[in-house]
């Protein structure tokens, strides 16, 4: 087991009488990329704000690098970089001036580091333009740049792909992948869009109505709904007697939950029984399907 970077235990948050978060616990180790997934209004942003000390915690603890966020705020937040909600930057300043302001607040973040980060997020050509002239994608990238400027070991990104077109999403995803490898930090990314996370997260946390539904390795979530194969044959009347674990879809199609290695033996048995096989397709389960199965749709109280 690696070093624990972020540990949230039994977080509760009430706004008046309304319970926004109910017993949320999270843990991130060095090198983890955690996808924090939930529908809109599930409590993702609130959780992130509690972690960052932007809102008061009703009960529970947040511990970053061994420091408690409420009792030892400055120590705890020192090695954290974040974007919360939108990348809200000073629109009347240039990209470089924005980064300079952030760099000024940390010891040892100089011009070299700013240039390095600018190159990393590929904003070299536009860094001296006013942020008000940036596209949303460029602002997201500048937001990421300000978050990683001081070499944090925990990066928290709240919906970093929100409002971007598919091309922009792809860009950001590639950038984050590169960053996670290069800068070697624990990353927490929230999103309501599963597809964009499944390819590079190694952990996943599903939250719904302020409650954590599932925290696991990404493969485990996928296993919730088992994969299988769909066979197309001339007649499905006999198959459920011949094979175990068969779901008949219609006269010519059935589904069977098996591993890849078992496919040849199933084919052999069907052929032996004089059944004509027209096609065999693997049924892939995406994270999204697993997610929908888990949450059973979305209800916001």
């Amino acid at each position: 087991m690696g070093d624990v970077v972020l540990k949230c235990e039994h977080l509760h948050k009430n706004f008046g009488r309304k319970e926004i978060l109910k017993d949320v616990s999270l843990e991130l180790e060095k090198g983890d990329i955690l996808g924090f997934i939930g529908p809109n209004g599930a409590g993702k942003t609130t959780t992130i704000k509690l972690i960052l000390g932007l809102q008061s915690i009703t009960s529970g603890t947040v511990n970053i690098n061994g420091y408690d966020i409420t009792n030892n705020f400055t120590k705890a937040i020192e090695k954290v970089g974040a974007i919360v909600e939108n990348p809200d930057l000073y629109m009347y300043l240039t990209g470089y001036e924005n980064l300079k302001l952030i760099a000024n607040l940390y010891k040892g973040v100089g011009k070299d580091r700013i240039d390095e980060v600018v190159k990393l997020v590929k904003l070299e050509n536009r860094i001296n333009d006013k942020v008000s002239k940036y596209s949303l994608g460029m602002r997201q990238r500048l937001g990421i740049a300000q978050a990683i400027l001081h070499k944090p070991n925990l990066l928290i990104l709240d919906e970093p792909t929100n409002g971007l077109d598919p091309e922009g999403i792809k860009e950001i995803r590639e950038l984050l992948k590169e960053l996670a490898e290069k800068e070697k930090m624990a990353v927490l990314i929230s999103s309501h869009n599963l597809l964009e996370l499944e390819t590079f997260c190694n952990k996943i946390c599903i939250i719904k109505n302020g409650k954590v539904m599932e925290t696991n390795k990404i493969e485990d979530v996928k296993n919730v709904a088992k994969s299988g194969y769909i066979f197309e044959i001339d007649n499905t009347e006999m198959v459920d007697k011949m094979l175990k674990g068969v779901t008949v879809i219609d006269n010519t199609k059935f589904k069977i939950d098996i591993e890849r290695e078992e496919v040849p033996s199933i084919v052999k048995r069907l052929v032996e029984n004089d059944i004509k096989i027209y096609s065999i397709n693997e049924e892939k389960i995406s994270l999204e399907d697993a997610f929908l199965k888990k949450t059973g749709g979305n209800v916001i109280d």
Partner: protein, 489 residues
């Protein structure tokens, strides 16, 4: 903390709005200086209105009147003497030294002459005598010899003083004695002004020094009136008037005796000395604009999140913003002052700035001289509580309500309403108004032993009240900022 303050300053100086307001201020300063210069060039506006119009009017009216008719008699004398006076004024010009002589010395003769017109059987001998005296005066007017009039007056004053002294010696009641004393003091003032006129060559022609002679005379008369009729029931307002006259008389005296122009407001020095009364509104607007947005704008635009997730306590962040406002206040005051210094110098010339500043010290009963720089410093220190408190109010409102518009508007309304509160307090004689901040935040009213607006306030009292209001505003601001949940935007 210093890093935070540096950042805050950088943010302010990158904003266009700051420069726009400062540019508008500069434009105002230039305009104001140019206007003042033009006014000073066309000094002494003829307060008699249009003399020509008056003359035509009088002539028309006189045609309707019969001097021998008992009913028209008094009106005839009025119109006839006025007409002749106006004609003479027109002849010599309203700014000439003769103007005053015509007004004070020749007018009575003209009235006498007009009176003879209304008599059916006038005394020819007496009439001739008056006419001769009148003609002699007119010939003296043409000789450009104003000193002779001053000398005559001086002689007359001396004579009267002797007379009054005799009356005093032979006075039987205290009242008579006091009356004579008062007369003697009046005459001494008059004698003083006449001696100055002759010594310093100040003619009756309208000029800066002629104005000062008038100022000295009028103020001194007020001072004597107050001192001679002193009673227990004096209100603060009367006392303030007295102090005001005392100050004006002494300042006029200083200038006349030293040949300086400290009371001249239409030169680079005068404009600078009056800096705070002319440009206070600009200082207030700019600092309130900055203090009213420095916190709320970050909340409204969401940038506060960038700031609050840095390794600094919230208290530190708020303090650095407040200190930034204080630094900006200093920068604003100094730069507007510099603007006036440079613009005033360019428009009027820098020479006048060499004259020292003077202030009448009511404790020492004497004029204190100081350099313009130290005078400005004293003034700035005295006025500083106004700006710091208004700034703190805007800062507090902006933090508490997260709304720049509310913060700026309420603060400016408070500033504008402050003089109203003070006036109401004085007029209705509400003693408790002195515990408000507005009668206390201008410390200059306590300097040099002057009488403050409210009785019972002092420099120490004012500073304590100011400090209390300052702290009352800041405490909730810090508590709210520290505890605030950053809501979704």
């Amino acid at each position: 903390m210093i890093r935070l303050i540096k950042n805050e300053l950088a943010k302010i100086f990158k904003k266009k709005s700051f420069y726009i307001v400062m540019l508008v201020t500069l434009a105002f300063i230039i305009g104001y200086n140019v206007i003042m210069k033009n006014i000073s060039n066309s000094e002494n506006i003829n307060y008699y209105g249009n003399l020509d119009e008056q003359i035509v009017y009088m002539e028309a009216e006189l045609k309707e009147l019969n001097p021998l008719d008992e009913n028209d008699k008094s009106q005839y004398i009025d119109y006839k003497s006025s007409l002749e006076t106006y004609k003479l004024m027109k002849k010599y010009g309203v700014n000439s030294w003769q103007f005053l002589i015509v007004q004070t010395k020749i007018n009575p003769y003209l009235r006498d002459l007009a009176t003879y017109d209304t008599m059916i059987n006038k005394d020819e001998v007496a009439y001739k005598e008056t006419l001769n005296e009148y003609n002699e005066l007119i010939s003296r007017l043409d000789k450009e010899d104003w000193q002779s009039f001053a000398r005559d007056d001086l002689e007359e004053a001396n004579k009267q003083i002797e007379e009054q002294k005799k009356i005093k010696e032979s006075a039987e009641t205290e009242k008579q004695m006091a009356e004579a004393d008062k007369m003697i003091r009046y005459l001494e003032v008059q004698k003083q002004t006449l001696e100055w006129r002759l010594d310093k060559n100040i003619s009756y022609e309208s000029s800066y020094y002629n104005g000062l002679i008038d100022q000295y005379y009028n103020s001194s008369i007020s001072v004597i009136d107050y001192e001679m009729s002193k009673s227990e029931s004096d209100t603060t307002l009367m006392k303030q008037d007295y102090y005001d006259s005392l100050e004006r008389a002494n300042k006029a005296k200083y200038d006349i005796e030293n040949g300086t122009r400290t009371q001249d407001e239409s030169n680079a020095r005068g404009m600078l000395v009056n800096f705070f009364s002319e440009y206070e509104i600009f200082i207030v607007i700019v600092i309130v604009m900055i203090a009213g947005t420095i916190v709320s704008e970050e909340f409204n635009k969401g940038t506060v999140k960038l700031l609050l997730i840095r390794p600094y306590k919230r208290t530190t962040i708020l303090t650095s913003k407040f200190i930034t406002c204080l630094i900006m206040l200093a920068i604003i005051i100094i730069s507007i002052m510099l603007m006036q210094f440079v613009v005033g110098g360019v428009v009027f010339g820098f020479d006048s700035l060499q004259t020292q500043a003077i202030e009448y010290d009511f404790n020492a009963h004497s004029i204190q001289e100081m350099s313009i720089a130290s005078y400005m410093l004293i003034q700035t220190i005295g006025k500083l509580p106004i700006y710091v408190l208004l700034m703190t109010l805007a800062f507090a409102l902006s933090t508490l309500f997260n709304n720049s518009a509310v913060a700026i508007t309420l603060t400016l309304l408070g500033y504008m309403g402050s003089s109203m509160i003070n006036m109401i307090g004085i007029q209705l004689d509400l003693d408790w108004v002195k515990y408000f901040v507005t009668p206390n935040w201008d410390l200059t009213q306590h300097f040099f032993g002057a009488i403050p607006m409210y009785e019972g306030t002092s420099l120490e009292f004012a500073m304590v009240i100011n400090a209390i209001y300052f702290i009352i505003m800041l405490i909730p601001t810090y508590i709210v900022f520290k505890k605030r949940n950053i809501k979704n935007i």
